[in-house]
Symmetry: C2
């Protein structure tokens, strides 16, 4: 059995190597000497943008794979599974690069976002931005190539590629729906709750928990139909709980260093489940106050504090805690159906628990 | 044998159906009712953006497939080959959607570009733009899924998916290099010629001629290594000639209705092979005049006319004609190596000839 620290020490450099190789032009042709510098800028940025993730998704996939292959005495290539796990992380980087362009974010993981860094590198805003957009495209294609190569050495290889593409489409749909939520009027909080949870399923649970579990099940030789059902049963509530916890920590703060200041989502006017729950439960005057603050262009520090007070007073924060706790218990119950050994179950629960801070489980 | 008109009448609605189905959320989950409208806007735009292409790439792939399967008496699924040919067209749409965002183009094929149309649809510039970016991402993923499903019913299915991903990466690299050319100084015209031709290979020849031929060869059961060599030998010169002809027609005008006004590339200040050839051959005063005009932010109508005069006088236009003619003859010679019947060779040459106006061949 491998430790998390050991796995991380394998995953991290492996992502670097894969990204460096596959962001470069394929060996089907040459790159003209005059154009080598711009190509190198993009490769360097691909590597930089790929660094600094917590690798939760890759670790979940690997841990589930280890549990399943030991349990079923399957002899499948762990090396290939590592690459497949890395492909999820590369996909996340691709999605974040485009996300930062859409949100016009200057920073990501404490460093300049990819399109900003490329603007600085080439000293040209519009070309740098274009290179950032293309870097997202390149990473989104190369992660499929990484998955394809890995899948060739694993069970259910065709189902793995299909699932990888489905995961990618799900997240892209999630981004569209997330933009849709930004346009959803605040006058119908119940619809907003449904819409926000729906976005979590597509944009977050898809690639954070469902796909990593699905890839492990498929690679361990589980029948694709069973694998999809089992991955969804455990992964969907877990992924929703993960995103709810992330949004909650943004408001109540965290002992974890998330690198984000408290209240960031409120400052940005993000339409979260917390906001919808608060609007839903608020009295008329609190509701009007919340709506006015969120319909405004900007919110100052005093207003951010006031929103947090209203989130507390309406019970929205307690409701999020309750939602997370219920979802976590649904996910745990679904793990019971996987028919694992006592030790296997314990290890899988441990792997899943990483997605939810212990005081919120 | 199928006629081009008949093939087009199959391809066109098939693209519509595939794009409508695969742009929508996969059936792995539900879309919340409140978010259905934004999803439908994106699907509608995917269908609209997919319309109006000449389908040269799909037709080349199908024609080559017909010639090869008849020649080798291969019994491969023409229906699957049609889908694979459509996947190339869907990929082109994906690339154009992002291209228009990078270039900030308002129009495409005489209609609003995808991101502009989505801005109008949702009455919100930044969200519309974000949806446009995501539409490009969705189309880029779904064309791989179309190719994957098609490849399952064709020979060399794994090599087809691999080649499809390589094609996509090549075009993405081409876009990066194209942005690099925009930053290439005009002081070294020879480097500019090399760089521009290099961009043509990656950005245009890749998916316009090389990949369509390669997919046909693979689907007809040709050994992957031979297929790559043969597709490159015919497709690379043909694709370069196609792009050179396109750039030339932008300057000298065309009997074809390209939908573009004469001199558009010059107006935009595009660094073309024509410009590089002109700078290369110009005397000192003409060269300085050209450089000054192309280093300026904008060029007025008089300057566009003046540039065309200089392109003529320096022999750049004749040189482009000569380049196209040589490349076309290289492509024809490479077709001879395919060992086709007299009839097969004639039909393949006809299919390739569609890429070059007859007076430039």
């Amino acid at each position: 059995m491998c430790t998390t620290a050991k796995d991380l020490s394998i995953i991290e450099p492996r992502i670097g190597t894969l990204v460096r190789d596959l962001t470069d032009a394929p060996d089907t042709g040459e790159v003209a000497a005059a154009l080598r510098p711009v190509m190198d800028d993009v490769i360097q940025q691909a590597v930089t943008s790929s660094q600094g993730g917590k690798r939760l998704r890759a670790l979940l996939s690997l841990d589930a794979f280890d549990v399943l292959t030991e349990q079923h005495h399957v002899n499948s290539s762990r090396n290939a599974m590592i690459d497949l796990a890395c492909a999820i992380e590369v996909f996340q980087t691709a999605a974040l690069v485009h996300d930062d362009i859409i949100d016009e974010s200057d920073l990501r993981r404490g460093k300049p976002s990819a399109h900003r860094a490329l603007e600085y590198a080439v000293h040209n805003a519009s070309i740098g931005r274009g290179l950032g957009l293309m870097l997202g495209d390149i990473l989104a294609t190369e992660c499929i190539e990484i998955a394809r190569r890995a899948a060739k050495q694993l069970s259910n290889s065709d189902a793995i590629i299909e699932s990888f593409l489905t995961m990618q489409r799900e997240v892209e749909i999630g981004q569209v729906l997330d933009l849709g939520v930004e346009m959803t009027p605040l006058s119908n909080p119940q619809a907003l709750v449904q819409a926000s949870l729906n976005v979590f399923r597509w944009k977050t649970a898809s690639y954070t928990t469902i796909a990593p579990l699905l890839f492990a099940l498929l690679a361990a030789g589980v029948d694709p139909q069973d694998a999809r059902r089992e991955a969804l049963a455990v992964g969907e509530p877990l992924g929703l709980a993960f995103q709810l916890a992330d949004d909650l920590l943004d408001v109540i703060g965290s002992s974890r260093n998330t690198g984000k200041p408290v209240g960031g989502d409120i400052r940005e006017g993000k339409r979260t489940v917390l906001l919808a729950d608060a609007l839903n439960a608020a009295n008329v005057s609190d509701r009007d106050e919340l709506r006015a603050m969120f319909e405004a262009e900007h919110r100052d520090e005093t207003q951010v504090g006031r929103v947090i007070t209203l989130f507390e007073r309406t019970g929205a924060i307690d409701q999020s805690r309750a939602r997370i706790s219920i979802l976590w218990s649904q996910s745990r119950q679904a793990i019971e159906q996987w028919h694992l050994s006592e030790d296997g179950r314990r290890r899988l629960i441990e792997a899943c628990a990483r997605f939810i801070p212990s005081d919120l489980r």
